[in-house]
Point group: C2
Amino acid sequence: MRRIAVDAMGGDRAPAAELDAAAAAVREGAELEVILVGDQPRLEEELARRGVPARAPLSIHHASQVITMDDAPAAAVRTKKDASMRVCFDLCKEGRADAVVSAGHSGAMLACGLFVLGRLPGVDRPAIVTTLPTVGGSVVLCDMGANVDPRPELLAQFGVLGGVHAQVALGRTRPRVGLLSNGAEESKGTSLTREAHALLKRIGADPGLGLAYLGYIEGRDIFGGAVDVVVTDGFTGNVAVKTAEGAGLAILAFLKEAFASSARARLGALLARPALQALKKKIDYAENGGAPLVGVDGVVMICHGAATAPALETAIFQASRMVGHRAAFRERLAAAVARTQDIWQSNGGPDRAASGGVE
Amino acid sequence: MRRIAVDAMGGDRAPAAELDAAAAAVREGAELEVILVGDQPRLEEELARRGVPARAPLSIHHASQVITMDDAPAAAVRTKKDASMRVCFDLCKEGRADAVVSAGHSGAMLACGLFVLGRLPGVDRPAIVTTLPTVGGSVVLCDMGANVDPRPELLAQFGVLGGVHAQVALGRTRPRVGLLSNGAEESKGTSLTREAHALLKRIGADPGLGLAYLGYIEGRDIFGGAVDVVVTDGFTGNVAVKTAEGAGLAILAFLKEAFASSARARLGALLARPALQALKKKIDYAENGGAPLVGVDGVVMICHGAATAPALETAIFQASRMVGHRAAFRERLAAAVARTQDIWQSNGGPDRAASGGVE
């Protein structure tokens, strides 16, 4: 049984979306147990209204507090000890749950991950790894927002984190890794990307790591299928992913306009509707699952604040699959980080990359 | 007559795309003259093959050299004095042309702008201003790639450059300006964006500037219509714009797949085809016009290397319109920059923002 702790008070639509997602997940998913963490009386009432019994595989664990978007992450994690999010992490730490899923404050998720679960051996900072659809497949982007001002060594380590994730979770045998920049030429980039580029070259040159480093890529290469892993700092990665989301929604709106432009187009749209709805589902971020926080000692799935019930349900299944991969991921990452620590030591040492606190 | 110097040797499809664009532009555009700059014998031959006479309003100006993507911008501008791109700028400087259009090396365009035309009074660094379609209108983004590592003062000045461009070229009376970040909360961003945010607040508070500063925006807000001007550094701006382009092309590919998924969807696609082609034109960057280099003393239009003939034709018309706005833009920018210089002086002085060379 994989036990997923779901922060029932986290997202913009909490607890309704979380409850619907959990109820659907345990109905559909075999060997899956969901622990809803939050205000017990309220959650019991909401479950009763849905005609769902509040017992395993769908149980409730009481938590009296909630971390809001106004909370400072580090302080909230330390002072709101009974917050639904924090309690999810505690359940994992105590071995009473195998994974955390939350659509709450992502900064607080990172803080909980660091503070409660801690980092995996050799990892300087955890990162958010998101999976995006491409023409013909998918691509992994690391970091999507956990580290906004990383040092070059840390940026290079995101290549290892994202690469090992692509190996284990996506089954890519030798993931192609690209560093996001403002042009493909080596003269492009910032001092940060140029230093990270030099380190990633060395990482790519080590056949024992199984990572093919292709150098700089541009924004438009993210979705082109030429790479499996996009390496970037959390600021740029966050901007890129959200810009793609915004562009996707704008194009859906343009498409609606185009379809409304003539009687002929309206008929065409009517016929193509089922196909278009599948497309919308693929593009709309509120309908997509979560992004794992990789590098902490546990399985943590960060969801959009606006995540819908189907998105949260997907995130619960993703978390369950990651629980299955966890041992392989830990082992592979530990080996990879040990090899790359060696590379970094000749470049000033890993300490340079370590940084405390939550940004 | 507005005289547009077109770098006929610049883009990936040069000189064919440039020649087709120029021929179409002078055929359609009133009061428009195009000077094709490049290898005269070759251009004459290509024009003859098209049955187009090589005389005004479509003349040829010989240039024996070409700046390629392998050239270092600053060196190329100084040493390749007879390069087609450089000669376009010289024609402007000498008053023999009113604007430059090129799909060549954008770094070299910036270097030519700085070296040949120079900066407008009070402008620290020119920036690339691109216009993107939004739901219900358009948005201006500044900088799209001219300055990858700007200081906060420079980033704040991009708000003024982009804002005045939106006022004059797009007719927005009080443009809403947003600073691109990884979240809307003030605690988000990098040290660069946080410092620029404080400066932009002061700029927004000066009613004489006519700019409404709304604070941080996220990537997904770019296309939502809530702002007229997106302020960002050239690295992030370049990544954001190219990511949106890549997402757009991927979505077109997904759409194609969706339309091929059933007989019903195929029929729908057939009926909606004209509407979909209009959509493709709106999204596909190779079919869109150029982005002006704003802040140099002249009208300069930077096009995609992959720009098609229709895209270059659009850029020629854009350049022509900008020639019409030039006096108003200069005047308004000079006034705005003078006011903001005053704001910056209390913050360490404008010298801190000045930087030489081309990145």
